[in-house]
Symmetry: D2
Subunit: 353 residues, 4 copies
C-alpha cells in the first residue's frame, strides 16, 4: 500500500508524468498553526536544479493545501495536498516503452503488474519523494512543538567521508554547501568528486547520517514496532537506499561488549543518563532520552550519463542512450527525504506515547 | 503492537517468566499438511544449551499447537500455539528489581510503562524469539511448497569473517558446526574467538548473512511495503540487531554506478535475467527473480560475565554481579531467528502477490 | 482515520469549504480500462439540484484523476483524484461560528478537537460522500468485470414503503423517478410525501435497500471481517444512517427457526443452492452464492427549514434561522452512496478471496 | 483476520474441538490491577448449562492467563490467555463430515477453504465467543476506571418484548432471571416462550439492547471509524446477529425531523447537554456525553431440535438427525457477548482519544 505510519499516517499518490502528485496526512492533531512557507522551503530543498551538482531540470514544485486547515490552523481533519506536474515531455520517453533500464524498476513493475508507466519510472521515480517531504514538513512542525529536532547531512560521497561518526553538527553549515555536509572542507572534496564522476558520465553512492535530539525517553514499542525497526523500514523505502544502521551499527559486529556498553550515570539535575551513546538512543525498541543516531547508505544511481547495453521486453539486446538529467550523486537531495521520513516515524511514535 | 505481517500475520505474547509464551498465526492458507516435527526442529535450533559456545540453561522448549489443524492439515482458521516456561527461578532476579542493567531495556521499559517485569527482560528477552521461530516454521513450509528456500549463516564474529560476501552455501555444512558458518575453517576460528572472549567474561558481535532462492519476479510493493523495507523492519526487531543492508549494501556507498549496475541478459531458456546481483534481488521494492541477499549486524550483548557498575531506579550507583548464563556471541542462535523473520516477510509478500 | 477497506482501500480528504475534496484509491488492480464518464455519472447521481425534491444548490462537481492511469488503463499505482469546491460562500456561515446546531456534529467536533470548521459541517457534511462515490465507481468497474452487480433503491420514505422486502428490481425504473424507488406508483406517493414535509419546513427519514447479485460463494471471512460486519461498518459511516440489517434482519428476532431456515437444494446444473434467502446471502461471514440483501435506515436530517432553538458554545440560549438548502429527505441521494460503500466492501473482499 | 480493534486489540484463536481456544490482548495499558475472578465470572455468564433454557452441555470453562501480568498488575506487554477444551466427543460429529447443515457455515467454509472442521462449526461455533468475553472483561476493567459502564439485556424474545425502548435498567434484576431481562414479569413470559418453542424442537430469535453510561463527549472519529460504525461492525461479527441500530434506529426511518431532533440545554452545572437522546449518544461519529444506546437483532439459530432435510457435499439429499444440545434462544447468552464487544470497541476508542 501507499501509506506510511499508523497514528500519524501519510498516504501518497502520483507519478512523475500524470497531472499531479500529492497525498493525505491523517492524524495531525487539531489546533496547530502551520507555517506553510516552511513546508514550501522543505520542498525546495528536495528540488532539482539547485546547483551544479544536481540535475538541471527545473521543476517549479508548488504545494497546494486542499483541506484540513482553517485560517492556517489544523482542525483534526485530514490534510489533502497536491503538487502539479508541469513538465510532461512524454515524447522524450518513447524510447523506453519497450526497453528495460538496468537496475531500475522497469522489469519488476512489468513482472508484477503486466503494465508500467514508461514515462520516467512511475512510483519508483525519485520525484515521488516530494509528497513525503510535504508530509514530513507537517510532522516536523508537530515535533518542534515538543522540542524534537531532526538533522541529517551527507556523511560520505564515494571515497570521501567525514572523519567522525555523528559529530556535533550545525544546520547552517550543512545548508551552506551544495552537498549538505557539516564540514566545509570535506564538503568541497565531495563536491569535486561528484563533478569529476559526472564528467565521466558516471554516478557515485554515499551515506546520509541523521541525528534526532530532544526525544524523551519512552517513545517506541517493545516488539514489532521497535523504534529502530520503524526507522529502518521507513528509510529502506527511499529510492536507492541499500542499508540502515543505528548507534554503533555495523561496527558493533566487530566490537566487544565491554567496549560498547553504555554505562549509566546521573546528570547535574539527578536524572539518569548514559556516559556514551553506542546504543543510538534506543534500548529494546524504546527511546532512552539520548539523541537518536542512524545512517542510511545510498547506491550510485543506475541511470548513467552514457550509453548502456540492455534488453527489450522481448529479451532482445539493445542500447539505451545517455539521458543526462539525473544527479551524479543522489545523496545531497536525499538529505531532506531522510529527515522527512524520520519526522513521520517520530510523529507516529509521539502520537502513540 | 505485537503483530508481524499483514496477510500472513504472527501475533505473539509471553515473557521469559510467565506461565507460557506463544502466538497466533493468521492467514496461513487452508489445505497444507504441516510437518510438526520440522516445526519443533526449528525451535530446537534456537534453544540454549546446544554446545559449549552458547548459554547452558536447559530450556526444554516444546511447542503445542492449540488450534487451526485438522488431522495435521491447516483449515484456514488461526493457528494458536504455546511454549510453556519451565524454569522460573524468580528469586535469581530479585537483585534486578530496582537496578537498571546498562544497555538493556530495563530503563526504557520503566520510562514507558512505569512498571517492568524485572525477572529477565520481559518482552526484550531473547526468549521471546521462540514464538517467532514457530511462526517462521509455518511460513517456511508454505514457501517451500512454492520452491522458496531461506538460508542464513554466520558471516562474521568480531574480527573473524568469511572471505566472500554471499558465497555459495551448503545448509548441511552450516548446521554441522556450532557457529553456523558455511566455511568449516572459518567456523573453527570463530568458535575459538567466542571461547576466548567468553573466558575473559566479555561478549562479541557479528553478522548474519541470508540468501533466499526461488523467489519469483514480482513479489513486494512499490512504496511503503517495498520488499527491502519489510525485511529491514523485520530484522531490526530482533534483539541486539543494529543494522541491515541488502545486495551491495553499505559498500554501494563507496562505489560507482558503472561498476554496480546489474546488466540484463537472457538465460538458456530465453528468460530475462541479470549478469550480476549487486541489487540483491530487488528493484524498486519488487523481487526480480534473482536470489535475495541481505545482512544483519548484531552487537555484542550487554550482559557481561563479570561485574558491571550501574545505577538503581533512584539513580544511585550500584554494582551488578556477573550472571554468567548468556551467550558470549548471540549470532549463532540468531541464525534461525533471521530465517524465521525472513520467512514471515516472504510469506506475507507471497500471499499478496 | 479516513480510510475504508484494506486490500482495496479508499482514503479521503476534504470539507465542503476548502479548495477541494478528493481521495486516493489504493489496491486497484493493474490493466483495467476505466470508463471515466461512468465515474462522472455516479458523481452526478449524488449531486444536489437534480430535481424538485432535493436541495437546489448547484454544485458542478467534476472529478479530475491525478494519477494511476496510463492511456485510461490502471497501472497498479494509487489513483489520486480531486473535486474542486466551487461555491464557498463562507459569509453565509458566520452565524454558525459560535452556535451548535442540534443533532449535528458541531458540539462533538468541538468537544473532540477544541476547534471546528463552522462553514458547513466539516467532515460531517454529506458533501464528503462525493469522494466515496468516486472510489465506489472504480470498485464497481472492478466488480463488473467479475459479474457482480450492486443495485440500491429507496424502500421507505416515512410512512410510505414498498409492499415487499427485496423485490425483483429494474435499475432503469429506479433511475426513472426522483426518489429512486423501483415501483413507480410507490415512488409517486413518496415524492408527494417529501414535498408535503418540505412544505412544512420539516424533514423525513427512510430506508435504502440494496441487492448484490453475482457474488460467488466464498467471499468474506469467518471472524472480525465477516462480510456482514464489513457491510454494517461501512453503511454506518454514511451521514444520517441509524441502522443496518441483512437478510431477514430485525424480522428474524420475531421469527422461528423452522420458518427461517434456508434449506439446500440443487439447481438445474447440479450446483448446491438454497430454496430461500432469509440469510441474505451470507453464512458465518462468508458469501454462499445467493444475492446479498441488506437495508440501511436513515433518520430525518436535523437541519430543519424553519427556526430552531439551540445554544451557543458558551451554553447560552439562541435561535438558528432557517437555512433552507438541505434535502427534506436524504434517502434518494443516499442510494448511490450506499452502492458506493457496498462496492468498496465487495472489492476489498474480492481482492482477498 | 482474527483481530478486533486497533489501539486495544484482541486477537483470538480456537475451535470447539481443538486442545484450546484463547487470545492475545494487545494495548492494555500498564499498571492496572486486574480482578481475575471478575474475568472468570464474565466467562461463567456465557457458559452453557446455566439453566433450563440453555443447552445442557457442561463446559467447565476456566481461563488461564499466560503472560502480561506481574503480581496481578498489567505491565504493558500483551496478555496471552487460553481456555482448554474439555469435551471433545468427535465421534458425535462423524455424521456431519459430508453433510451441510442448512443456514450454518458448513457450505461457505467448504467453498472458501476447500476443507472444514466438521466437528462443531469451527470458528463459526458460538464457543469462539468465549475468547471475546475474556478480552471484553479486561476492556471493561479499563473502562470502569474511567467511569464507563456497559449494560446489556434481553429486550425481545420472539413475540415477547419490553414495553419501552432503552428503559432505566438495574443490573441486579437483569442477572436475577434466566433470560437476562430487566423486567421480571416480561422475563417470565420470555422464559415460558423459550420453553414452549424448545418443547416443539424449534428455536426463536430476539433482540439484545445495550446502554453505555459515563462516556465522555469526544470519543470516536469523524469518518471511517465513526463510533456507531465500530459498534455495528463489532456486533455483526457475533454469531446469529442479523441487525444493528442505535438511538432512534429503524424507527427514525418513519419519523419527522421536528420530532426526532435532540434540542440542547444546559444542566445544573451549566454544562451543555440534550433534552432527549434520539441520537443514541453519538453525533457525526463522536460521542456527545449522553448514554450510548443500541440494539442487536438475533435470528433463531438454525440448529433445530428435530430432523432436517439437507444435502451432502456432493449435492445428494439426506437427513440430519436432531442433535438437541443447542439453545432454543441464543439471546440470553448473547448478552455478555454484546457487552464484551461493546467494551472492546469503547476501550479502543478510549485509548485513541
Amino acid at each position: 500500500m501507499n501509506s506510511f505510519g499508523h497514528s500519524f499516517r501519510l498516504t501518497t499518490f502520483g507519478e512523475s508524468h500524470g497531472p499531479a502528485l500529492g497525498g493525505i496526512i491523517d492524524g495531525m492533531p487539531a489546533g496547530i498553526r502551520i507555517d506553510l512557507e516552511a513546508v514550501q522551503r522543505e520542498l525546495d530543498r528536495r528540488r532539482p536544479g539547485q546547483s551544479a551538482i544536481v540535475t538541471q531540470r527545473s521543476e517549479a514544485d508548488r504545494v497546494e493545501i486542499l483541506s484540513g486547515l482553517l485560517d492556517g490552523v489544523t482542525t483534526g481533519t485530514p490534510i489533502g495536498f497536491e503538487i502539479r506536474n508541469t513538465s510532461q515531455r512524454s515524447a522524450d520517453y518513447e524510447e523506453m516503452r519497450h526497453t528495460f533500464r538496468p537496475s531500475h524498476a522497469d522489469y519488476t513493475y512489468q513482472a508484477k503488474y503486466g503494465i508500467r508507466d514508461h514515462r520516467g519510472g512511475g512510483r519508483a521515480s525519485a520525484r515521488e519523494t516530494a509528497a513525503r517531504v510535504v508530509g514530513g514538513a507537517f510532522a516536523r512542525q508537530l515535533l518542534a512543538l515538543h522540542g524534537i529536532t531532526i538533522t541529517a547531512y551527507t556523511a560520505r560521497v564515494g571515497s570521501v567521508a567525514l572523519a567522525e561518526r555523528y559529530p556535533h553538527v550545525d544546520a547552517a553549515v550543512i545548508e551552506s554547501n551544495d552537498v549538505r555536509c557539516p564540514d566545509a572542507e570535506t564538503a568541497e572534496r565531495m563536491r569535486r568528486l561528484i563533478l569529476e564522476v559526472k564528467g565521466r558520465g558516471d554516478t557515485v553512492g554515499g551515506i546520509v547520517e541523521c541525528q534526532v535530539t530532544g526525544v524523551p525517553a519512552g517513545l517506541g514499542n517493545p516488539l514489532a514496532d521497535k523504534l529502530q525497526a520503524s526507522l529502518a523500514g521507513a528509510m529502506l523505502t527511499i529510492p536507492a537506499a541499500k542499508g540502515f544502521d543505528y548507534g554503533m551499527g555495523f561496527d558493533g559486529a566487530e566490537g566487544l561488549g565491554s567496549e560498547l556498553i553504555d554505562l549509566f550515570t546521573t546528570d547535574a539535575d539527578g536524572r539518569i543518563t548514559t556516559l556514551t551513546n553506542h546504543s543510538g538512543g534506543i534500548q529494546g525498541g524504546i527511546s532512552n532520552g539520548m539523541p537518536l543516531t542512524f545512517r542510511v547508505a545510498f547506491k550510485p544511481v543506475a541511470t548513467l550519463l552514457r550509453e548502456v547495453a540492455t534488453v527489450t521486453d522481448r529479451g532482445e539486446a539493445t542500447t539505451l542512450h545517455a539521458r543526462g538529467r539525473h544527479d551524479a550523486c543522489v545523496v545531497p537531495r536525499a538529505v531532506p527525504v531522510v529527515e522527512a521520513m524520520a519526522a513521520i516515524v517520530l510523529a507516529d511514535a509521539w502520537l502513540q506515547r
